[in-house]
């Protein structure tokens, strides 16, 4: 069953660029406010150091040196995976149903990876050295440090996605030029450099290979690779070990990614009256994918729990027992289970499905995944293999400084979409064309 939006006209497509939604100003103010709050707190951190957070040395220090900043970093990288999942589905697997939301998802990838990068900046003790210490050391450290692998792959994912966007936007701008604002002409000229229609087929093939490269790299080697390896490769913490971490992290990423796309797509549909352009079946389909990835996530949590409590080595047993005795862990799991229940019910009885409900479910899933990731980091640090340190128990509750960063980064993503949606179409022109007819000529 494929969704057919080819009847939609170009006016509708460029509606965000040509008209102002009444929600635009509200969203803008809210985004700037969120960013402002965060900047206020971040300035304090830059002045006084990370002592303004609730982080501390683990072990004899009684704290955790990694907390919400790292949890949120992983969370944003996870959300970023939506872009490639959607684009791969459309380009590589021909799932045209999702084509209307493919570009939004790509844009979400750029925004989310930017936030992930901001979290690295916020997290380190010496942000002033982030480039001057990291870049010159890269040729030597890339052979050993999982953090450098992480930085390398995130850079690659960002650059590949941005290249994908820059290449595919040319087709759209060329054909929609007269509907785009004149004052941005220099920008469009730059984006269209060297363009002629003969490139269309070549670029189509190039971006196919781009999508291929990303689908191999991002899920398998980034969120199912170097990111879990940051933890699983270490000899220090009992709760982090194991080959299951790769698949587990990936399942969370995919769940968060689809949730993010649902929210963004619903926002645009609502703000610009895009019922025709992003019809309900798109959300219905996305909800089923959310259900599938969420199920994988729960299943992999089960793997970790059962192998950690049946007859596990002492330190792993202890770490797992602590994990399942933590109420907030069950809040996170419960949120995902609740989401699963709704999605399952709606899959069986489609009248139960509404877009506002799936958006609410997506928000809850995002909360749950952020909590789970932060717990993973924090509880890992609170239960090291060196169990003698249990005598100095650590308590971690994120401080206002840390919490404000979540607000700030969400604000940045919202701001990003508000600005970009005024400059380029956030839905591909191909989506409203019959079987890529223009290109195949």
């Amino acid at each position: 069953m494929s969704v057919d939006v080819t009847g939609v006209d170009r006016e509708t497509l460029v509606r965000p660029i040509q008209s102002r939604s009444k929600y635009f100003l509200v969203a803008l103010v809210a985004a700037l406010a969120g960013i402002g709050v965060w900047l206020y707190f971040y300035t304090q951190q830059l002045q006084h150091g990370l002592i303004v957070t609730h982080l501390a040395d683990w072990g004899s220090g009684g704290g955790v040196p990694w907390g919400l900043y790292i949890g949120a970093f992983i969370w944003w990288v996870g959300i970023a995976h939506g872009g490639i999942i959607l684009s791969a589905a459309v380009r590589l697997l021909g799932m045209d149903t999702y084509q209307p939301v493919a570009r939004m998802a790509e844009l979400l990838t750029i925004a989310a990876l930017t936030c992930a990068g901001i979290y690295i900046l916020i997290h380190v003790g010496r942000p002033d050295r982030l480039v001057t210490s990291v870049l010159p050391a890269w040729p030597w450290r890339v052979h050993w440090s999982p953090l450098v692998w992480d930085v390398t792959v995130i850079t690659a994912y960002f650059v590949l996605t941005a290249t994908y966007l820059l290449l595919t936007i040319r087709y759209d701008i060329h054909r929609l030029r007269d509907r785009l604002p004149d004052r941005l002409e220099p920008l469009y000229k730059a984006l269209m450099i060297g363009y002629s229609e003969t490139e269309d087929k070549v670029v189509e093939r190039m971006v196919w290979w781009l999508a291929f490269a990303i689908i191999i790299m991002a899920p398998l080697l980034l969120h199912g690779g170097v990111i879990p390896w940051l933890f699983a490769l270490l000899p220090s913490m009992a709760g982090w070990a194991g080959g299951v971490q790769g698949p587990s992290f990936l399942s969370i990423a995919l769940t968060s990614a689809v949730s993010g796309i649902i929210i963004i797509a619903a926002a645009f549909r609502y703000a610009y009256g895009w019922e025709e352009l992003i019809p309900k079946p798109v959300f219905y389909g996305l909800s089923k994918w959310l259900g599938f990835f969420g199920l994988l996530f729960l299943w992999l949590q089960l793997q970790q729990v059962i192998t950690g409590i049946f007859a596990a080595p002492t330190t792993l047993q202890h770490a797992t027992e602590v994990k399942i005795a933590t109420p907030i862990y069950w809040v996170a799991i419960g949120l995902v289970i609740a989401a699963e229940a709704y999605i399952f019910a709606a899959a069986l009885k489609s009248s139960l499905f509404t877009i506002p409900r799936i958006v609410a479910v997506s928000v809850l899933v995002l909360v749950g995944t952020l909590v789970e990731k932060t717990l993973f980091v924090v509880e890992g640090l609170q239960h090291a293999h060196f169990q003698l340190y249990d005598g100095v128990p650590g308590v971690y509750v994120p401080s206002a400084v840390e919490l404000s960063s979540v607000l700030g980064t969400v604000g940045i993503v919202v701001l990003f979409f508000l600005v970009v949606s005024k400059v380029i179409p956030v839905v591909e022109l191909h989506a409203i064309e019959d079987d890529h007819e223009e290109v195949r000529d």
């Binding site: 002033d128 480039v131 001057t132 870049l135 850079t155 820059l166 290979w209 080697l221």
Partner: protein, 77 residues
């Protein structure tokens, strides 16, 4: 044999990351670049555009980050 750890005390230059990054993680990119230049339809002008985007974006990303860190440096450190 992977020279994963040995005395004397500095880590050898080659490590697990050498194979991981240059052999596995970047492999899809090597394949993609090859496909941009070879096969049909391909066009060296478009391929060059793509490569320029890759290089330019990487520079812009790290350049922008560098500027941000320098601002932080002069303001706070």
């Amino acid at each position: 044999m992977l020279p994963l750890a040995s005395a004397p005390y500095t880590l050898p230059f080659v490590g697990p990351g050498t194979y991981l990054i240059f052999g596995i993680v970047l492999a899809p990119i090597y394949v993609m670049l090859a496909a941009w230049y070879l096969g049909k339809p391909s066009d060296s002008k478009s391929a060059l555009l793509g490569v320029t985007y890759l290089a330019g974006l990487t520079t812009a990303l790290w350049g922008g980050l560098f500027v941000a860190t320098m601002v932080i440096k002069f303001a706070f450190f």
